[in-house]
């Protein structure tokens, strides 16, 4: 029972991170039908920018008392900003020209961008994992039989707050409505006066910002950052997005938590070395048997 609850907490924590990344895949796929393969690496970039900020602040002995809170906010803000700009920059430079190209061209390009980012991050921060400054105190709390760390609570709370904010943004704001319109029908949206290029750019900014949040909480949660983190996390998050129904925001969140739980429980039951097999089997099964995902509507084939 004890172990079960601990794995549950772990799974939720992992799931929160995957959900944040999955949202980035789903937003972009929803609007461009592109698997932004580089998205996972944007997440890695977020971890490292937050890490660099925190390391610098720690070296300046800034991280005490109120400075600690300010430092954390600053690291988070820098990660968000950096990832948003990076993601939008990628769209502008690499994908925009290929909007009308055959479907596989932007995907191949995205894989190329992913490889470049991984290599650049490796050149910047080295090939070994870098410890993430342990800035959030982590005493264990006992809630009944459940033991959770404060970090876990912070991670999950931050992730959920972000998702709620995103939900309202997309549902209520003008920009959010424009995003949905462009996702539905790009030509029609442009006919009613929506600036399609700008809307797509903003979608990438938001997806990047979410990856920035994920990068920060991922760093806190795993206690380290590594140049290849984004590959595995990205694929899991993409699986989550597909599982939930790609293009569907609630689906990405649901899928994220489910994949997090799957990973943590499969690690418990059959060992961590099988987690890739478990996750990718889910991916394959979902795509083969229910490509529209749990919450997606099945689209009639266009003829």
């Amino acid at each position: 029972m004890h172990e079960f609850l601990a794995q549950l907490a772990n799974g939720v924590e992992l799931g929160a991170i995957y959900a944040l990344i999955a949202l980035g895949y789903t937003l972009v796929y929803g609007i461009l039908e592109l698997i932004n393969f580089a998205h996972g690496d944007v997440y890695t970039f977020g971890s490292f920018t937050a890490l660099v900020v925190l390391v610098a602040l720690r070296a300046a002995h800034f991280l005490h008392g109120a400075g600690l809170i300010l430092g954390i906010v600053a690291a988070l803000a820098v990660a968000i900003l950096a990832c948003a700009l990076l993601n939008a920059g990628i769209e502008r430079l690499a994908y925009r020209r290929l909007r009308k190209a055959p479907r596989l061209a932007p995907l191949i390009t995205a894989i190329g961008v992913s490889f470049m980012l991984e290599n650049l991050i490796e050149l910047w921060q080295g090939a070994a994992p870098v410890p993430f400054p342990n800035v959030i105190p982590n005493p264990e709390l006992e809630i009944g039989a459940l033991q959770v760390g404060v970090q876990q609570i912070v991670v999950v709370a931050l992730a959920i707050a972000t998702m709620v904010a995103l939900h309202y943004f997309v549902k209520r704001s003008r920009l959010g409505k424009a995003m949905r319109a462009v996702a539905q029908d790009r030509d029609a949206a442009s006919l009613v006066g929506i600036d399609v290029d700008r809307t797509i750019a903003i979608t990438f900014l938001i997806a990047g910002a979410l990856a920035g949040v994920a990068g920060f909480v991922g760093g806190v949660s795993f206690g380290s950052a590594w140049f290849l983190n984004g590959f595995g996390a990205g694929l899991r998050a993409f699986t989550a997005a597909v599982l939930g129904g790609i293009g569907n925001i609630a689906g990405a969140m649901l899928g994220g938590f489910l994949i997090g739980l799957l990973e943590s429980f499969s690690t418990w039951f059959i060992g961590g070395q099988w987690s890739n097999v478990a996750v990718f089997s889910v991916l394959i099964l979902v795509l083969v048997f229910r490509p529209s995902g749990l919450l997606g509507e099945s689209l009639p084939e266009k003829v």
């Binding site: 592109l34 698997i35 690499a94 020209r97 290929l98 009308k100 190209a101 055959p102 479907r103 596989l104 061209a105 932007p106 995907l107 191949i108 390009t109 894989i111 190329g112 961008v113 992913s114 490889f115 470049m116 980012l117 991984e118 290599n119 650049l120 490796e122 050149l123 090939a127 590959f231 694929l235 993409f238 699986t239 597909v242 070395q273 099988w274 890739n276 097999v277 990718f280 089997s281 991916l283 394959i284 795509l287 083969v288 490509p291 266009k302 003829v303």
Partner: protein, 358 residues
């Protein structure tokens, strides 16, 4: 020296591509084959044979993947899995692992058959998927296979893999420590792969692939069995990779799961993209360029930079950057690759897929 061979080979390929006269093409191809067979015996050493053998194996892999991606239009991002299956076939059946020491030559065929079988097994449930979904599923498969090899420690030696693989023999003569025989086998393999690729392209099956690539719905209306044709592409493509895997494992006398990751799959995709998807000669050129860059140019550049600036910059660490830049650069600026064929050039240039209605 190695550059001379690569340069001659690439120049000959370009010439073959540019000439229209069939006889001239054949003459150049024969001259090139003779040159590559004889040249290294006189101007070469073990190191050169080694690089050339690797290059030849990659050319075979690229030709195999070209059947899947270039001909049938199915982006396979897990192609290294079949390479792994081929390599492990040799690793497990020709080593002290089980005390089985099956002959190298038989295993070449067995590996081809096994890889084809797994290609079909993967394809059967997934080939209904379209475009990027198929790509991601194959990627997932490509991640699963090495992990299974890594985890089944009892059979596969786990993360360390299997070492001390048998040294092949040829009519009782052991290959010994030389890598030369692998080069010649791979050379013969390339000739066969080229021949088969050409046959397929001109065949009924090849036309069916073209039709599926261009317009799957119209292909169905012509009576083409789309699923079977795609399966055939997967199986044939995988079998090339299986053979490549045996050669690779035997030459290295080692298999281990980390040799067959996603990077390998992307490397081979990069070769196709660089040379020109679908074009046989272009694919050969693409794979030659990338192998030479990887196994000769980068290490040499590295020592040159280190020696002249007294640094220890690891230039061999920019492989990913190079593959990535190739993928992005080619897709943006020359989507048909360096040496495209007629059809793919038009296809990739005239963008804007038409969502026609029936």
């Amino acid at each position: 020296m190695i550059y001379a061979y690569a340069f001659v080979a690439i120049a000959a390929c370009v010439a073959i591509e540019r000439f229209h006269n069939r006889k001239a093409k054949i003459a150049i191809a024969l001259a090139l084959a003779a040159f590559l067979a004889v040249g290294p015996r006189f101007y070469g050493n073990e190191a050169i044979f080694s690089v050339l053998a690797d290059a030849a194996v990659y050319v075979m892999l690229a030709l195999g993947l070209n059947i899947v991606v270039g001909f049938a239009g199915l982006l396979d991002l897990g192609y290294a899995a079949f390479f792994a299956i081929g390599a492990y076939t040799y690793g497990m059946l020709a080593s002290p692992q089980f005390g089985l020491h099956l002959p190298f030559w038989a295993l070449l065929f067995l590996a081809a058959a096994l890889a084809a079988l797994f290609g079909a097994l993967l394809g059967a449930p997934t080939l209904r998927l379209h475009g990027d979904y198929l790509a991601i599923v194959t990627l997932g498969f490509g991640e699963i296979v090495p992990q299974i090899f890594q985890n089944l420690t009892k059979y596969t030696g786990g993360p360390n893999g299997i070492a001390a693989l048998d040294v092949p023999t040829f009519f009782g003569h052991s290959f010994g420590a030389s890598v030369m025989p692998y080069y010649y086998i791979a050379l013969v393999g390339i000739v066969l792969a080229l021949w088969i690729s050409r046959n397929l392209r001109e065949s009924r099956l090849g036309r069916a692939w073209m039709a599926i690539r261009e317009d799957e719905l119209a292909a169905k209306h012509a009576g083409i069995d789309v699923l079977r044709s795609k399966l055939a592409a997967f199986a044939i493509g995988a079998s090339f990779s299986g053979i490549g895997g045996v050669l690779f494992a035997a030459k290295l006398a080692l298999v281990s799961p980390d040799l067959f990751g996603f990077q390998v799959s992307v490397l081979i995709v990069s070769m196709l993209v660089l040379g020109g998807m679908g074009n046989i000669v272009g694919v050969v050129v693409g794979s030659l360029i990338l192998t030479i860059v990887n196994s000769a140019l980068l290490p040499q550049l590295n020592s040159l930079v280190d020696a002249s600036f007294h640094t220890t910059v690891d230039l061999s660490n920019i492989h990913f950057l190079i593959y990535g830049a190739i993928l992005v650069g080619i897709m943006l600026f020359r989507p048909e690759g360096l040496l495209p064929n007629r059809e793919r050039r038009a296809e990739l240039r005239n963008s804007g897929e038409v969502e026609a209605e029936a």
